[in-house]
């Protein structure tokens, strides 16, 4: 996994909390910085894709690692 600047562990949280926490964390980050998110909600895979499409933040990576879902989002 590529480098990231900040990390958010949203494990155990269900929809829509992973998205809301991610948005809040991104709000405090500078443009171009990368956020690494870990989630256990299977719905988060499609949700982070949709979040990126609608907000312009880039979803650089989305993968499953040992039953957890990991995402890299670059702030627009």
């Amino acid at each position: 996994m590529a480098d990231f600047d900040q990390e958010l562990d949203a494990s155990g949280l269900n929809c829509p909390l992973p998205i809301l926490r991610a948005k809040k964390t991104l709000n405090g980050m500078e443009s171009g910085k990368v956020l690494h998110i870990i989630a256990t909600d299977p719905g988060s895979v499609k949700d982070f894709e949709a979040f990126a499409n609608q907000t312009g933040n880039e979803l650089m990576e989305s993968k499953e690692v040992g039953g957890k879902f990991e995402f890299l989002i670059k702030k627009a």
Partner: protein, 160 residues
């Protein structure tokens, strides 16, 4: 005029289960950059109380999944027994907490933080003689025309 998308929601229900959709959708929309308003009317006004003492009822709700196959051994009349609503409510709360579903008050706070505007129907407040000191701060009291001012320019309008 901003080019922000807009979501207008009317929240009409005051039970624990139906309290979720307005707050989940509004907070998510706000996170996606939507300008969002929720208009609370009739039983929906319960969702604005500081003390969110909401319950869920299995009565008149054949689609509600019951724990431990309870729907099999309780006929409809059984669901009306005293204490049944309290029991279903506590089971639902436990289930939600164990699945990491957001606490309602937390979700509402997230909405307010994200500048979702919460509007209480003035007519309902008067009708039921509700005490506005029981409501959370930061809400607006207004009528139907105020709702349409925003809803008329919205991209999505939901009645929940």
């Amino acid at each position: 005029m901003s080019d922000e998308k807009k979501l207008a929601i009317i929240a009409t229900k005051g039970s624990l289960d139906w309290a979720y959709p307005p707050f989940i959708l509004a907070s998510t929309a706000a996170a996606l950059g939507y300008e969002t308003e929720i208009f609370f009317t009739f039983y929906g006004l319960q969702l604005l109380k500081k003390d969110l003492d909401l319950e869920v009822t299995p009565l008149g709700n054949p689609g509600m999944p019951m724990p431990m196959g309870m729907d099999k051994w309780f006929p409809v009349m059984g669901l009306a027994l005293p204490g049944m609503q309290g029991m279903m409510t506590s089971m639902m709360k436990k289930k939600m907490a164990s699945k990491g579903v957001a606490d309602l008050a937390e979700l509402r706070e997230l909405c307010q933080e994200a500048e979702v505007r919460l509007i209480a129907c003035q007519m309902t407040v008067d009708l039921f003689e509700m005490n506005t000191s029981e409501f959370i701060d930061g809400i607006e009291y207004a009528g139907a025309a105020r709702f349409f001012e925003f809803a008329g320019t919205s991209d999505i309008c939901l009645y929940i």
